[in-house]
């Protein structure tokens, strides 16, 4: 058990180091100079541009040797310093991101968990029952093939423009300030429905199909046939199959996180939902590379934490790994 977790932690640590290095590397070794872009956008005279240029170089710490920049980058990171935003100058990047994170949690956590549970239940239910299978499976394949942003656009268009029953922009009414009143919570909820639904639907399709296929595999396994031969009720056999089939789905959740994050980014963009995805769009449009790098780091950290949580859950759910690990260690 301990060995399993030390290995996993080592991988996550290496991933984090690699991610931070990529994050540091890309702006420095890509063609084009972010600071030059920044200054050219300001449209200054030549001499003042030079002055500002050297000021920025110093302010962003780009005038020291490259290895020192790398160490400084790590040092700043451990002090929670991700630089200063260009878009919302002079706010620190970390502050801007921290304002966005609650919206991501509010949107993503329920969407991922609910779609995972519902998809698995539904997929298991549909497997090997002819009529359901023939209607659910095609629907599942269509849903999982739908680009997140397109489903978002369609839902926004249908419910926001044609039926005019749900808002499709922002996280709460633009006429409100965040406060702790029922009216605000209601508005929050109302704006949450469409982005949640579009995320939920796409993910749901994938999980339902995955589970259906897993159950079919499990029902073909020897233990299922044996149970059937013993005359066990159909429900019991299916329960055993479900418990075995859920394990790959847990691993699948970890594997899918990257794709889900991508989907969440564009969904937030479609609905102007002020999470990290929306920030990334703003950062790209405003050439705010520090904000972009900060968002990247936050996503990596979030994905790593989620992966670790899934590892723990896997060990809790699967008794075989538990005993296996003990024997190994």
């Amino acid at each position: 058990m301990r060995r399993y977790f030390t290995r996993k932690l080592l991988i996550y640590l290496l991933t984090f180091v690699l991610a931070v290095t990529i994050d540091w590397l890309i702006p420095r070794f890509m063609p084009g100079n972010p600071i030059q872009i920044l200054i050219s956008r300001a449209g200054l005279k030549a001499e003042s541009a030079n002055l500002i240029y050297s000021y920025y170089m110093q302010a962003f710490g780009l005038n020291v040797p490259i290895w020192q920049q790398y160490l400084n980058f790590w040092n700043a990171l451990f002090h929670g310093d991700l630089g200063t935003s260009v878009w919302l100058f002079p706010q620190p990047v970390i502050q801007i991101i921290m304002r966005a994170v609650p919206f991501d949690v509010l949107l993503l956590l329920p969407a991922i968990l609910v779609s995972w549970f519902a998809g698995n239940k539904f997929g298991a239910f549909a497997a090997r029952s002819k009529w359901l299978d023939n209607t659910i499976s095609p629907l599942g394949y269509i849903l999982t093939a739908t680009p997140y942003m397109w489903l978002g656009l369609m839902l926004g268009w249908l419910f926001g423009i044609i039926l005019k029953i749900l808002p499709f922009s922002g996280a709460y009414s633009y006429a409100m300030m965040p406060n702790l009143s029922w009216a605000f919570v209601g508005s929050l909820l109302e704006h949450w429905i469409l982005p949640f639904t579009s995320l939920f639907l796409v993910m749901f399709g994938g999980w339902a199909i995955g589970m259906r296929n897993m159950i079919i595999y499990e029902l073909e396994a020897d233990y299922s046939h044996y149970l059937e031969a013993l005359g066990a009720p159909r429900k019991l056999v299916r329960n055993y199959a479900f418990r075995n089939a859920i394990l790959p789905q847990i691993t699948g959740l970890a594997l899918q996180l990257g794709v889900i994050v991508g989907g969440a980014l564009v969904t937030e963009i479609v609905f102007s939902y002020p999470g990290i995805g929306f920030l990334i769009l703003q950062a790209i449009q405003n050439h705010d590379f520090f904000l972009l790098q900060g968002c990247f780091l936050f996503i990596i950290i979030g994905v790593l934490l989620a992966n670790f949580a899934i590892d723990i859950i896997y060990v809790l759910v699967d008794p075989r790994t538990r005993t296996g690990m003990q024997g190994e260690g």
């Binding site: 991988i11 996550y12 290496l14 991933t15 690699l18 991610a19 990529i22 994050d23 890309i26 702006p27 890509m30 063609p31 084009g32 972010p34 095609p138 394949y141 269509i142 999982t144 093939a145 739908t146 680009p147 997140y148 942003m149 397109w150 489903l151 656009l153 369609m154 926004g156 268009w157 926001g160 423009i161 499709f168 296929n213 079919i216 595999y217 073909e220 594997l255 996180l257 990257g258 794709v259 994050v261 991508g262 980014l265 564009v266 963009i269 479609v270 990334i280 769009l281 950062a283 790209i284 449009q285 590379f289 972009l292 790098q293 990247f296 996503i299 990596i300 994905v303 790593l304 992966n307």
Partner: protein, 285 residues
């Protein structure tokens, strides 16, 4: 001779499989449309052809954009871009995954340890976010660049799956025999192990193809697609930015998304159909 008979049997199941027939038909429809579509239109994708916004009509089949561009023209050219990204991006992702998977699975030991760790690391990093940050720094981008980068980040799950399969195959007798007869490792991999996985490799490529299309559409939608071109993702991006939703210009954003959904969905269904053909256990009834 059992071999030719087996082939006929597979063909028989292929032709009989409804999923396969539907999936292949839909994909072929769009391939043909992408090939002949540009001949059906007399406009260029970014040409100003009509004054202002026009809903679909006999003149402009899919209507026009806010800039007076013909949506159908953009659509068929965008389809081409979509298939190119799938072919190259999906192909590269499959190739890298296969190579790493074969080497890790066949070699084992320390090589496997290192490759496996590398695979696991790349697997955890959300590829789209890395692509996004790379693309954001590039001033000029093209399809080829986009496809190659998508391929470079799409391989990890392929490598994992191929590695596991190679592991189980390499201890079989026929592989041992080849090794005893002094065959070179690379030759063993490609002559003895790979042919046993051919059907699986095809399935992997189909999934990578669809995945690359979806990734490209996502990148394009964020505004990090090809800087000077047309693609289905870019069409949705433009439609979104220029308020097609609020203006009720459904003909601008429905066709590109619908086409992507249909193509990728059909690829997935084809994949399942082929799986059923290759794997008798999965055949229904």
């Amino acid at each position: 001779m059992p071999q030719p008979k087996k082939k006929n049997e597979m063909l028989y199941f292929m032709l009989r499989n409804t999923k396969l027939r539907i999936g292949v038909a839909v994909v072929l429809f769009f391939v043909v449309l992408a090939l002949v579509g540009p001949l059906l239109t007399k406009y260029q994708p970014k040409e100003y052809v009509a004054g202002g916004v026009t809903p679909p009509s006999s003149e402009f089949w899919f209507g026009t954009t806010s800039f007076g561009e013909d949506v159908f023209t953009q659509f068929v050219y965008g389809l081409r871009a979509t298939f190119i990204v799938g072919l190259i991006g999906g192909g590269l992702g499959t190739l890298i995954g296969i190579l790493i998977g074969f080497i890790a699975g066949y070699r084992g030991g320390i090589v496997d340890e290192i490759l496996n760790m590398f695979t696991n690391i790349v697997l955890v990093i959300p590829s789209l976010v890395v692509l996004l940050i790379i693309a954001a720094y590039l001033e000029v981008r093209g399809y080829l660049f986009e496809s190659i980068f998508i391929g470079f980040f799409a391989w990890p799950w392929v490598a994992r799956a191929i590695r596991a399969q190679t592991f189980s195959l390499r201890s079989r007798e026929f592989v041992d025999l080849a090794r005893l007869s002094g065959m070179k490792p690379l030759k063993i991999i490609f002559k003895e192990i790979a042919p046993n996985m051919m059907s699986y490799l095809l399935l992997v490529y189909i999934l990578q193809f669809g995945g690359a299309i979806l990734t490209a559409a996502t990148l394009d939608f964020i505004g990090l697609g090809p800087t000077n071109g047309v693609s289905l993702g870019l069409m949705m991006n433009n439609a979104f930015i220029y308020g097609a939703l609020i203006l009720g210009m459904w003909w601008w954003f429905i066709p590109p998304g619908l086409a992507i959904t249909a193509i990728v969905g059909a690829l997935y269904v084809t994949n399942v159909g082929l799986d059923e053909v290759f794997n008798p256990k999965l055949r229904e009834t």
